[in-house]
C-alpha cells in the first residue's frame, strides 16, 4: 500500500455535546503515481480526510499509511515523512506569514537545511512552474497580489519542497482559465514524468476529470464510492441526488443521449465530446 487509510474514523471534540463524527470507517488505497479525486458535498469530510494523509490530524480510530509507515506510530520520524507529502490548503493565502514572496516560497526548502543558492534555484523554478515571472514577483509582499496570484504562490511554496505526494484542496477556486490550464498541465507533467502522486479535492471537475485514474466519493463522512472516473461519473443520477455534478461535457453528452442520439456520455473534455459527436455523423453518412 502506498498511501491510504484503514477503517479511519475521526470525531471532532469527542466527549462533548458538540462531538462530530467527520469520518466514519473510511478505507481506501492510492497507488504510487496515482491521480485521485476526492469529491463530496461541503461538510462531507474531504478536508478532514486529507489532513490525516499528511499527519496533521490524528485518527480517533483506524490507521493511515504512507509508503510502508503507519503515520500514527511515528513520533520523531513523522516530520521527515511529512516532508514527502505536500499539502496545499483550501484557502492557502490566509496562512501567508512572510514579508516577501521569495521568503514565503523559500521557507520550506530553508527548513530542509538546503544551501541558500539551492533555495534560490528552487524558488525561481517553482515560480516558473506556476507560470509567474520570478523577477516581477519575488520582492513583493504576498498580500499585494490578486486572489488568483496568491493561489499560485501557495502552490509554488509547496512545490519547492519537491514532494512525492501532492494533496490539493480546491486548487482551482479563484483561478482564471489560463491559470487552471497552467495548473493542470503542470500536475499532468509532474504525474507522468516524476511519478508524483496526486490527491485532489474539488467541486469543479471539468478539466481535472480527464487526468484522474481514481475517484473517491464521500457522503457524511462515509466513503460511498471508489473507482475509475468512467465508472463513478457514469452514475449520474446518483451523484446528482447527492448534490454533486458530473463534468459539464458529460452532462451535454447525456442530454444528447436522452434525446435519442447514439453517443457515449462518459466524456470529460471538449475534444473528446467533439470527436464523439463527429463519430455519430460519420457513422450516419456511411
Amino acid at each position: 500500500m502506498f498511501i491510504g487509510t484503514d477503517r479511519l474514523t475521526h470525531t471532532y471534540m469527542p466527549g462533548t455535546p458538540y462531538a462530530k463524527k467527520a469520518l466514519d470507517n473510511v478505507s481506501f488505497e492510492i497507488k504510487q503515481g496515482g491521480f485521485a479525486l476526492v469529491i463530496g458535498r461541503s461538510g462531507s469530510g474531504k478536508s478532514t480526510l486529507i489532513q490525516h494523509l499528511n499527519g496533521l490530524l490524528k485518527p480517533t480510530s483506524g490507521r493511515v499509511f504512507f509508503d510502508g509507515h503507519d503515520l500514527g506510530q511515528k513520533g520523531n520520524e513523522l516530520l521527515k515523512i511529512r516532508r514527502k507529502i505536500g499539502l496545499v490548503f483550501q484557502m492557502p493565502e490566509e496562512l501567508f506569514f512572510s514579508e516577501t514572496i521569495f521568503d514565503e516560497i523559500a521557507f520550506a526548502p530553508r527548513n530542509l537545511g538546503l544551501e541558500e543558492t539551492e533555495v534560490q534555484t528552487r524558488v525561481i523554478e517553482a515560480l516558473e512552474e506556476v507560470g509567474m515571472e520570478a523577477e516581477q514577483f519575488i520582492d513583493r509582499h504576498p498580500f499585494q497580489l490578486s486572489a488568483g496570484q496568491k493561489r499560485m504562490v501557495a502552490l509554488a511554496a509547496v512545490l519547492s519542497l519537491r514532494p512525492e505526494v501532492l494533496i490539493l484542496d480546491e486548487p482551482t477556486a479563484g483561478l482564471d482559465h489560463s491559470g487552471q490550464k497552467i495548473l493542470f498541465k503542470l500536475l499532468a507533467s509532474l504525474n507522468k514524468k516524476k511519478n508524483m502522486t496526486f490527491i485532489i479535492c474539488t467541486h469543479h471537475l471539468d478539466q481535472v476529470a480527464a487526468l484522474a485514474d481514481q475517484v473517491l466519493v464521500l457522503q457524511e463522512g462515509r466513503l460511498v464510492m471508489d473507482g475509475f472516473p468512467q465508472k463513478i461519473f457514469g452514475r449520474r443520477s446518483q451523484l446528482i441526488k447527492m448534490g454533486l455534478s458530473p463534468p459539464v461535457t458529460a452532462e451535454i453528452m447525456a442530454d444528447l443521449a436522452e434525446r435519442g442520439l447514439d453517443v457515449r456520455s462518459d466524456i470529460f473534455n471538449l475534444e473528446d465530446a467533439r470527436a464523439e459527436i463527429n463519430r455519430l455523423r460519420r457513422h450516419r453518412v456511411k
Binding site: 480546491e170 479563484g174 482559465h177 467541486h203 454533486l244 444528447l256
Partner: protein
C-alpha cells in the same frame, strides 16, 4: 417599478494604483468609465490580476480612486462623511463565506449592520424577518453561523447586506468556494432578488456559465475595460475571450469546434440546452 434608466453607480475616468506597487508596473485600473443602472445585472470577468476586485472596492469606498471619481447614488466616494451611506447603498459579498460572518447566531449576524445604523429595535426585527423569509433562512435564525454549509453561509451574508435595503449588491466570486448545490442556491437567490426586487448586481466570476444570466457582461484586462455587451455578444466572441486567456461556456466552445468540423450550427448558442437542441435538430433534418 424600477426605473432602469436611473444610474446607481457611476465611475468616470477611474484609475487606481496601489501604493508600494513598483513605479514601472502598470496601475491596477486605468481609464475605466462605467455606470451601473438600477435593476441591472452585470457580470464582471477578466483574467487574474485584471482589476476586478479593485473595481468593486472602489465602488463601495473600501478604496478611493487615484484618478477620476466614483459616485454612488450621487454621493462621491471621496466624501468621507457619507461612507456609511455608500456602503448601505451597495453592500459587498466576498469569496470566502467563513470570513464575513461575525456574530454567534444567524439572526444576530443579519442584524449586525442594522445595529450600526441605530435603527429602532422594532424596525430591526421587522427587516430581519423580511429578509430571512425572502432568503429562506427562517429555520436557521438561532443556528451558529459556523455550523452552516457554505451555500447557507453565503445566503446569510447576502441577507445581512439585503437588510440594509441597498440598491446594489457587489459580489466577488461568491460561489468559488461552494459545492454545486450551494452554488445553485446562491445563484438562484441572487437572480430572484434581481428580477423580483430590482436589486442591481455586480457579480465577479471566473465561471462563464454564471455570466449567462447577466444583462451585461463587462470585461477587464490589465486594468482596462476592454469589452462589454450582452452575454450572447461577449460569451459568443471566443476570439476575444481566448485572446485574454479566458474560455467561454462549454456549449459555446463545443459549438465552435463543431462548426470548424462543418456542423451547420446557428450563431448565438451559449447554454447547454441551446446546443443540445441545435444538434438534435440538425440530426433530424439530415
Amino acid at each position: 417599478m424600477v426605473n432602469r434608466s436611473e444610474i446607481i453607480i457611476e465611475a468616470k475616468d477611474l484609475a487606481y494604483q496601489y501604493t508600494g506597487e513598483e513605479e514601472a508596473s502598470s496601475p491596477a485600473l486605468s481609464g475605466v468609465n462605467i455606470s451601473v443602472h438600477r435593476g441591472e445585472y452585470i457580470a464582471l470577468i477578466g483574467p487574474n490580476g485584471s482589476g476586478k476586485t479593485t473595481l468593486l472596492k472602489l465602488f463601495n469606498a473600501l478604496l478611493v480612486p487615484t484618478n477620476g471619481e466614483v459616485r454612488v447614488e450621487g454621493i462621491s466616494t471621496f466624501d468621507e462623511e457619507n461612507i456609511l451611506s455608500i456602503r448601505r447603498h451597495c453592500g459587498m459579498i466576498f469569496q470566502n463565506p467563513d470570513n464575513q460572518l461575525v456574530a454567534t447566531t444567524v439572526e444576530e449576524d443579519i442584524a449586525f449592520g442594522l445595529e450600526n445604523l441605530t435603527l429602532p429595535s422594532a424596525e430591526i426585527q421587522k427587516r430581519v424577518g423580511q429578509v430571512s423569509s425572502v432568503l429562506g433562512l427562517q429555520d436557521l435564525l438561532q443556528q451558529a453561523p459556523h455550523m452552516l454549509s457554505g451555500g447557507e453561509k453565503q445566503r446569510v451574508a447576502i441577507a445581512g447586506v439585503l437588510a440594509m435595503q441597498p440598491g446594489c449588491i457587489l459580489m466577488d466570486e461568491p460561489t468559488a468556494m461552494l459545492d454545486p448545490a450551494g452554488r445553485n442556491d446562491v445563484l438562484q437567490t441572487v437572480q430572484h432578488l434581481n428580477s423580483e426586487q430590482g436589486l442591481a448586481v455586480v457579480h465577479v466570476t471566473h465561471f462563464p456559465e454564471e455570466a449567462v444570466m447577466a444583462d451585461r457582461v463587462v470585461v477587464l484586462e490589465d486594468g482596462r475595460l476592454v469589452a462589454q455587451g450582452s452575454p450572447k455578444e461577449i460569451l459568443g466572441n471566443t476570439s476575444l475571450l481566448h485572446g485574454l486567456g479566458l474560455q467561454s461556456t462549454a456549449a459555446v466552445e463545443l459549438a465552435s469546434l463543431l462548426r470548424q468540423d462543418g456542423f451547420d450550427l446557428p450563431e448565438g448558442i451559449i447554454t447547454n440546452r441551446e446546443l443540445v437542441n441545435s444538434i438534435c435538430s440538425l440530426e433530424q433534418t439530415d
